[in-house]
Chain length 554, copies 2
C-alpha cells in the first residue's frame, strides 16, 4: 500500500456515561468491527419500557464495512442486544464459550439460529477483516471473561473488558498479566479500560474470600439457608455448592435464570455438583431445615424474583420464618437500593436472620479498584487512554488516575456516545458526532416508544386522565347527547360526584356558547373545551390530568 495511512476511529455507541449497553465501533478505512453488543435496563422514568439498546444507525448505514462483532463476556450489558442486531448485521460473532451458551438461549427465544456464533478462548488469535484479535484472560464475576489486544494498521488497542485482578480465583485461572506486560513492552497505541470502580481506592477482594465467609455463616445457621445471588456468577454458585457439601446440606436452585444458568454450567463442566445433592423445592419437607440450602434470584429486589416474593409472603412454596438465614450475596446496582432495602426490611419483619454486604463479606465486586487499574496502566503503558464502562464520575476519576500516572492530558479522551476518537501514531483528536443514542424496547416494539410516548405516560402517571365526550349536531351545533365523562387515575370518582357534575356543566356551557355564537368549527370547540376543563379541574383540585375532549358530529 502506498496510500497514506488513515486514522483509526474508535466510536463508543454505549457504555460510556452509563453502566450498561456496552458497544464500541473500531473503524479503519472501510473496515469496521464492533466490541460488545449489550443492553441496559430502563431507568424509572422510562415508564413501561422493558430494555434499552444502543442506537446502531451508524453501523446499519455502514453495514457493508462491518466484518464482525467481538464479545468480551456474557453479562447482559455486553450480550443483551445480540438477538436484536444479529439479523441486521449478518456477520460472524466471536465470544467466549460461556457467553455463547447464554447468547444461544436468547437466540432460541427470538427464533434465531446460532450459525454466526464462534467460540473464542483466552490465547486465541483471530482475524476480523483487517483487525487481528488476541484474547486475553481476565478475572471478572462471570466465567470466561476476556480482554482483547486488537492489532490495527495504526498500532495495538488493548481493551480490558470488564475486569479485576484476582490472584486467588476459585478456579485457579489467574488474569494473564504477562500478556498485558508483553503488549506494553512492544508498544500499545491505546488502552480502553473498565472504570466501574475507578472511584474506589485499594484493591477488590478475591472471590475466594466469599467462600470463607459462607463457611462461617453456614457454621452458625440452625435452620434453612437461603442465598440470593446473580445467576451468571458460577464461581459464586460453586462456592455455595462447596459450602453446602461441607455442611452436608441439600441444595435447591430456584428462579428461571438460576435454573437455566446452572443447567448450562453443569453441562459445560463449570459447576461441579453431585446430582444427589440437588433437591426440588417441593421435596423440602423430607429434610430437616438445617439440611437445606436454597439458591434463588432476587438479589436486586426485582419485583417478580424469588427472594422478593418470599420477603413479601407471596412465594407459593417458601414461607420465611425466624429460623431462616438469608444471605444476599450481591450489591444493589445504583437505582435498586430502595428495592433491596425493602426486601431486607420485610425479611427482618418475618423474623429471618439477614446477612448482606452491610454486615458481612458475602459479596465482592467484579471490577478493578484504583490499585488494580494502576497495575494495568503501568504494564500496558499506552500512548492514548480511553476510560470506558462507567458513569461520567467514574470516567473522570479514571482519567485523573491516568494523568497521575504520568500520561499527558491531551492523550486522554473521556469518551462520549457517538463521538469518534480519531487516533494515529502521532496525534489524537475528536471527530464529528455520528447518529447515536438509545432504542427503547417495549413489548414487541423496537424504537416505537420515543419521547412523545414517554411524556404522555409521565403525564398520565401523575394526575391520570379525564375524557369528555359530546355528540353535537353538525348543522345547529347543538348538543345531541352527552357530555359523557370518563376519568381514571384522577380522583376517586364515587366520592367526587359534585366535581363531575361541575365538569359536565363546564362542557355544556362551552357548547352552548359556541352554538349561540354560531361557531361550528371543531378546531375551535375542542381546544376551548379542553382549556375550560383544565382551568375548572385545576381550581377545584390543583391537579392537571390529561384532558381528552372527544367531539362526535352527527
Amino acid at each position: 500500500m502506498n496510500k497514506k495511512k488513515q486514522d483509526l476511529r474508535i466510536i463508543p455507541l454505549g457504555g460510556v456515561g452509563e453502566i450498561g449497553k456496552n458497544m464500541t465501533v473500531i473503524e479503519y478505512g472501510d473496515e469496521m468491527v464492533l466490541i460488545d453488543c449489550g443492553l441496559i435496563f430502563p431507568r424509572d422514568e422510562m415508564l413501561g419500557v422493558d430494555y434499552v439498546l444502543p442506537d446502531v444507525t451508524y453501523v446499519e448505514k455502514n453495514v457493508d464495512k462491518l466484518k464482525g462483532v467481538v464479545i468480551t463476556h456474557g453479562h447482559e450489558d455486553h450480550i443483551g442486544s445480540v438477538p436484536y442486531f444479529m439479523p441486521k448485521f449478518q456477520v460472524p460473532f466471536y465470544a467466549p464459550k460461556f457467553a455463547n451458551a447464554l447468547i444461544r438461549t436468547k437466540l432460541e427465544e427470538h427464533g434465531l439460529n446460532d450459525n454466526l456464533l464462534n467460540d473464542v478462548k483466552a490465547g486465541d488469535k483471530f482475524k476480523v477483516g483487517i483487525f487481528t484479535f488476541e484474547a486475553i484472560k481476565v478475572s471478572h464475576s462471570i466465567e470466561d471473561a476476556l480482554g482483547y489486544a486488537i492489532h490495527t494498521p495504526q498500532g495495538v488497542i488493548v481493551h480490558t473488558g470488564d475486569f479485576k485482578i484476582d490472584f486467588t480465583p476459585t478456579d485457579g485461572k489467574v488474569i494473564d498479566l504477562a500478556k498485558f506486560a508483553s503488549l506494553g513492552e512492544k508498544g500499545v497505541l491505546a488502552l480502553m479500560a473498565d472504570s466501574t470502580n475507578a472511584q474506589t481506592s485499594g484493591y477488590t477482594m478475591s472471590e475466594s474470600i466469599v467462600g470463607e465467609s459462607f463457611e462461617n455463616h453456614f457454621k452458625k445457621a440452625n435452620g434453612r439457608i437461603i442465598i440470593a445471588t446473580f445467576a451468571s456468577n458460577v464461581y459464586r454458585l460453586q462456592q455455595v455448592v462447596d459450602a453446602a457439601k461441607r455442611f452436608n446440606r441439600k441444595i435447591c436452585f430456584t428462579g428461571r435464570s438460576m435454573l437455566r444458568v446452572t443447567e448450562i454450567a453443569k453441562d459445560m463442566g463449570l459447576l461441579n455438583i453431585d446430582e444427589k445433592m440437588i433437591v426440588e423445592i417441593n421435596e423440602f419437607k423430607n429434610y430437616p431445615e438445617k439440611k437445606i440450602v436454597l439458591v434463588t434470584t432476587g438479589s436486586q429486589g426485582e419485583t417478580m424474583a424469588g427472594l422478593t416474593r418470599m420477603a413479601n409472603g407471596e412465594h407459593a412454596r417458601i414461607k420465611i420464618t425466624d429460623s431462616d438465614t438469608v444471605i444476599i450475596s450481591a450489591t444493589p446496582i445504583p437505582g435498586n437500593e430502595r428495592g433491596v432495602a425493602d426486601v431486607i426490611n420485610m425479611l427482618h419483619k418475618r423474623g429471618a436472620h439477614v446477612i448482606n454486604e452491610g454486615n458481612a463479606d458475602v459479596h465482592v465486586s467484579g471490577h478493578a479498584c484504583q490499585e488494580e487499574l494502576k497495575i494495568i496502566h503501568s504494564l500496558v503503558k499506552p500512548k492514548y487512554f480511553i476510560p470506558v464502562h462507567g458513569e461520567y464520575k467514574h470516567l473522570y476519576k479514571h482519567a485523573e488516575l491516568a494523568e497521575d500516572l504520568g500520561l499527558k492530558r491531551k492523550n486522554i479522551f473521556v469518551p462520549e456516545i457517538g463521538v469518534p476518537i480519531e487516533l494515529n501514531r502521532s496525534k489524537g483528536q475528536l471527530g464529528k458526532k455520528v447518529p447515536s443514542g438509545r432504542i427503547l424496547i417495549d413489548g414487541l416494539g423496537i424504537g416505537d416508544v420515543g419521547n412523545i410516548v414517554l411524556k404522555d405516560r409521565k403525564l398520565l402517571s401523575q394526575d391520570g386522565l379525564f375524557v369528555a365526550v359530546v355528540t353535537i349536531d353538525k348543522q345547529t351545533c347543538s348538543l345531541v347527547s352527552g357530555p359523557e365523562i370518563i376519568s381514571r387515575g384522577f380522583v376517586y370518582v364515587k366520592e367526587s360526584e359534585e366535581l363531575m357534575k361541575g365538569a359536565k356543566q363546564v362542557v355544556i356551557d362551552v357548547v352552548a356558547d359556541c352554538e349561540a355564537k354560531k361557531i361550528s368549527e371543531w378546531s375551535v370547540l375542542k381546544p376551548r373545551v379542553k382549556r375550560e376543563l383544565r382551568n375548572y379541574l385545576y381550581n377545584k383540585t390543583q391537579r392537571s390530568p390529561m384532558i381528552l375532549p372527544v367531539i362526535i358530529e352527527i
Copy 2:
C-alpha cells in the same frame, strides 16, 4: 384515686418500619398526647402524590381525649403534617422555638393562625393533661432539637427524639447526658429511641469536623465554590459562613427554602453573618470567581432544586464551568441515590470539581451510631425498650443491641404502626390494632387518592391509553359514526397507521356482529369491544394499554 391503675398505651401512628411521618400516641385512661406530627415524601410508586401523612382516624375518634401535641424538632418528618391536623385537633402544640418558626411559615401558607403554638426550651417542664413533660437538650442536625421525659401515672417514658451525641457541637450546647442519667437513676419505665443509624458501628462524627473539611476545600478552590446542603441545618450554614469569612468570600443563598430558613435563622440570632458579606446572584459579575460562595438547595438531586438545574444546564443564572468547586454536603436519603448520582455525573461532565461524601468529610449524620445508643441505654436503664424512627432493619438491629446490653427480649417491643404497646410496672403486652395507615396528599385532595387511583395511574404509566368511541343507533344497533380512536402513551401514532386501522376494524366487526345477533345491550357490547381490542393490541404489540370503549347511543 382508689381506682385500679390502667395500663399506659403507646401507639405509633408513623415513623416505625419507615423513616418519616413520625407520630406516636401516648394514652392513659381518657387522656392522650401526641408526640410529633410529621409527613413522609412519597415513594416512586405513589405516582403523582405530593406528600404522605399518617392516618389519624384513631386520634380523630378520640379527639376529646387529646390534650396536646408535643414536637421534638423542626424536620419535615416531625412537623410536616401540623397544618393538616391542627385545625382538626384544636389543642395546644408544644415545640422548640426554631421548629415553631418553621411551622409558622407552613401555617401561613395554609391560611392558619399560630394561636395554638407554644415555645418549649431545654429544661422546661410543662403539663399536658395528666402527663408532665420535661424537655431535654439533644444534639441533632437542626437547631433546638429536644428529647422528652414524660411523667405518667405508670412511670417515666424517655423519648430521645432524633439525636446524636456531639461533645463538640458548633454552638457549644452539648447534649444533656446528666439529665438522661438522673432519670435513669430514679427509674424509667420505657425508652423510645432513634434507630436510624442502629446498623452503623462506632460513633457519629461531630458537626465541627465538617468545618475543618470546608476550610481545606476553600483553601484549594481557585474559582467559585457552590455548596448544596439541607436548608434546615443552620449549624452547617454557619460553618459555610465562617469559612467564607475566613477566605474573604462573599456569600449568596439561593433556593426558596434556603432563603426562607436563613431569614428565620438570622432573625432568631442563630445564623451570625455580616450583612455586607451577602450578595445577590445577579451581583456575581462584580466579583472575581474566587471571591464567591453560593449556597443552594438540591443536595438530594430534587428535580426542581438549584443544584440539579445547574447540573442540567437549566439554571437561569449559574452556568457550571471547569473552575467551579461543588461541595455536596449531605448524604442521599434512601431512594434518592440515582438522582444524586445523576447530578454528580452532569457536574463532572461540565468540568466541575465535585466533592461529596464519597471523597471527603463534608457531611456528618445527625443520628446516633451504635456506641452512642449504648451510652443512652446504659444511662436510662429502662424497664421496657421501644426502638423508633427507623425501617424494620434498623428497629431489629436496635432491639438486638438492647438485648446485648442485658435487657430481656420480652421487655423489648419492636413496634408496628397502629399496634398499641400496653405497659405497666409489672408487665407489657401488645394490644389490638387501631385504625392506622397513610393518607396521600395530591394537590388539594387529602386522602382522595387511594389504591384504585394509584393502580390506574400505574397502568396508564406502563403502556398508556387506548380510547375507542363509537356512536350507534339505539334501535338498529348499527354504527352511526366512528369508531374514533385516541391513544396516548401507547405507540407513536404517526408510525402506527396499520395498527390503528386494524383496531378500527376490530371495533367495526364487533358492532356488526352484535347488530347481526340483535344484541343491543350496552353491557354486552362494551366488554366485548374491550376484550377484542385488548387481544388484538396485545398480539400486535405485546403491550396492554388501558382500554376505554365509549359507546354513544343515538
